[in-house]
Structure formats: structure tokens, C-alpha cells
């Protein structure tokens, strides 16, 4: 499965230096917010951590506006893309306020692509100490106890994963 990820980074914190990179998966859901709060209360080490608040927008659904029977209306696709980019910018602002309000050292990373594999890739790239994720996120269909992204991350991560619940 290819994941073409475009990276738009808003660098908030100072140089990463010797700090420990921690990846916190944030999809804007209540679970993600809960996970971040729990991380802040129970794990965050102010003098050691560099928190990477990561939002990955999965656009795979919007690439199927066209079909074999009817080609996609370019205006529709354009509109969809603009909507998603708007959402990404809103997400970026929201995550930036988390950093500002808590005053912690970190940065916001906004990406597009398959969330699970992108998180793993980021963890490798940034040599993350561990990944923080909720049990689930925005998913509308609650088929399982563990959401598909968290499940994927848990099974494929090369570093420890903190799975936040409740």
C-alpha cells in the first residue's frame, strides 16, 4: 500500500538536541485528546521530552470520486481537496494551541497518508522513544475494541507503544 505523504511542518519548539522524541498520534478525536492529557499528567518529562503531535489525514477515500462508469467531476475533486486542506490547517492550529497552552517542548506534524504506516515511519525517522495512541479515534463503525490504526501500530511498531484508554 503506497502512502504518498506530504509533510507540512510547523516548528514550534526549539532545537531537538538531546531530547527524547515522543510521538503522540492526534486525530482530533476525544480519545486522542484524552491520550495527550494522560501523557501530560503521567508521563511527560519536561526536561527530557520533545513531543511530536502528529496528525495524519487519510485521503484515500477522496481519491475515488471517479469510477469506471463515470469520470470524476474535477470541480468535486478540487472541492474535496480544498476541504481537506482546510481541515488540516484547522488541525494544525488546534495542535499548536495544545503546545502553547501546556508550554511543553514539541512540534506539530501534519501529514497525509495511511495513518498506521506513517506513524511507524515517523517513529523510525525521528528515532522516537515510544508512541502514544488511544484505543480508537474518529472511526464511525465500532467493530472492535481496538481501532484499526492503534491495532496496526501495536503490531508493527519498532518501539514501545502506550495504548491509552478511558
Amino acid at each position: 500500500m503506497s502512502s504518498e505523504s506530504e509533510c507540512v511542518m510547523a516548528n514550534i519548539g526549539p532545537n531537538i538536541g538531546e531530547r527524547r522524541n515522543v510521538i503522540i498520534a492526534m486525530d482530533g478525536s476525544d480519545y486522542a485528546e484524552g491520550a495527550f492529557k494522560w501523557y501530560m499528567e503521567h508521563v511527560h518529562r519536561a526536561d527530557e521530552d520533545h513531543a511530536l503531535l502528529v496528525n495524519i489525514a487519510d485521503h484515500s477515500h477522496s481519491l475515488t470520486h471517479g469510477s469506471a462508469w463515470m469520470s470524476a467531476d474535477p470541480k468535486l475533486v478540487e472541492h474535496a481537496i480544498r476541504e481537506e486542506e482546510k481541515k488540516a490547517r484547522e488541525m494544525e492550529k488546534k495542535l499548536e494551541t495544545y503546545l502553547v497552552e501546556t508550554g511543553i517542548e514539541g512540534q506539530v506534524i501534519i501529514m497525509k497518508g495511511d495513518p498506521g504506516s506513517t506513524l511507524i515511519k515517523l517513529a523510525d525517522e525521528y528515532n522516537a522513544a515510544y508512541i502514544v495512541t488511544g484505543t480508537r479515534g474518529h472511526g464511525k463503525i465500532r467493530r472492535t475494541i481496538l481501532g484499526s490504526v492503534s491495532d496496526y501500530v501495536m503490531h508493527h511498531s519498532h518501539v514501545p507503544v502506550l495504548i491509552y484508554r478511558q
Binding site: W38, H42, A129, M154, P160, V161, I163, Y164, R165, Q166
Partner: protein, 152 residues
């Protein structure tokens, strides 16, 4: 800052995976006032085999196996006692529970109202039932608190 006395449950066995999970917790998650509860499920021997296929019971063999289990448990406890001291853990408890390791860990965490469960992804289990350890899988799906799954 969180108040002192958080209860943290760590599933341990003789494997190096458990050691790594413990080390990771100490190095990255531990807080000064944490109360660490190590949960261990002794491996059960098949006592039917001890009878060597005959209808006659062999109490001596069974006794030997029971002693072996007790000895292994002591070795494990000693090992972790040293690690706990070296880590500067102020409050620690060792719980040995019969049955399925995953269920034991979750049960203890619930009873103790643990704030966090720490476990490795693989252990000593004789049966490699799944690619991801069955214990960590069970714990993640049934725990009532956050779970730190340690893998390398």
C-alpha cells in the same frame, strides 16, 4: 504533577522481554512514588505426563516438579528484587497468580486500581500461538487502564 503512589502493574516472566519492559518503564515512565506490582504466572506443568502414561500415580515426580516451580519462582523474585532496588523503587509487591497470564495481569490491575500496565510483547510461553504475544494482546483488549506494550 500527579499525586504520589501510582500503582503500576508489570507482567513478568523469566524472559529477557520482560526485563526489557521493566527497564523501559524505569527509564521512561517511572515516577518517584510509584508502587510497582509485578505479576507472574508460573508455568504449569502437565501433571498427567508426570504419571508417565500409567494409572499409578507417582507422587515423587509430582513433588519434584512442584519444587522446581517453587525454585524458579524464587529465582525470578530475587532477580526482580535486585532490579527494583537498583531502580530505586520505593514500594514494590510480587504477585504470583495461577491461570492465564493475561487474565492474571488484568485482574490484578483491576483489583489494585492500577494507573498503568506494562508488558512485553513476547515471553517464555511454550506455545507461540500468535505473532504478537498472546498475553500482551489479551491485556490490551481487556485492560481498564492504559497499557504500555514494550517491543524492540
Amino acid at each position: 504533577m500527579a499525586e504520589g503512589g501510582r500503582k503500576v502493574v508489570i507482567g513478568v516472566d523469566e524472559s529477557s522481554f520482560a526485563e526489557e519492559a521493566f527497564n523501559f518503564y524505569v527509564g521512561n515512565f517511572m515516577k518517584e512514588d510509584d508502587a510497582v506490582i509485578l505479576v507472574h504466572t508460573p508455568e504449569r506443568y502437565n501433571f498427567v505426563d508426570a504419571n508417565l502414561g500409567t494409572p499409578v500415580e507417582r507422587p515423587a515426580v509430582i513433588q519434584e516438579l512442584l519444587n522446581e516451580i517453587k525454585k524458579k519462582l524464587q529465582v525470578l523474585e530475587d532477580k526482580y528484587q535486585k532490579k527494583l532496588q537498583a531502580a530505586g523503587v520505593k514500594s514494590a509487591k510480587f504477585v504470583s497468580k495461577e491461570g492465564d497470564p493475561g487474565e492474571a495481569i488484568v485482574a490484578v490491575a483491576e483489583k489494585e486500581k492500577a494507573v498503568l500496565i506494562v508488558c512485553g510483547t513476547r515471553g517464555m510461553g511454550k506455545l507461540r500461538r500468535t505473532f504478537l504475544g498472546s498475553v500482551s494482546d489479551y491485556v490490551v483488549h481487556h485492560a481498564h487502564c492504559p497499557v504500555l506494550v514494550c517491543r524492540k
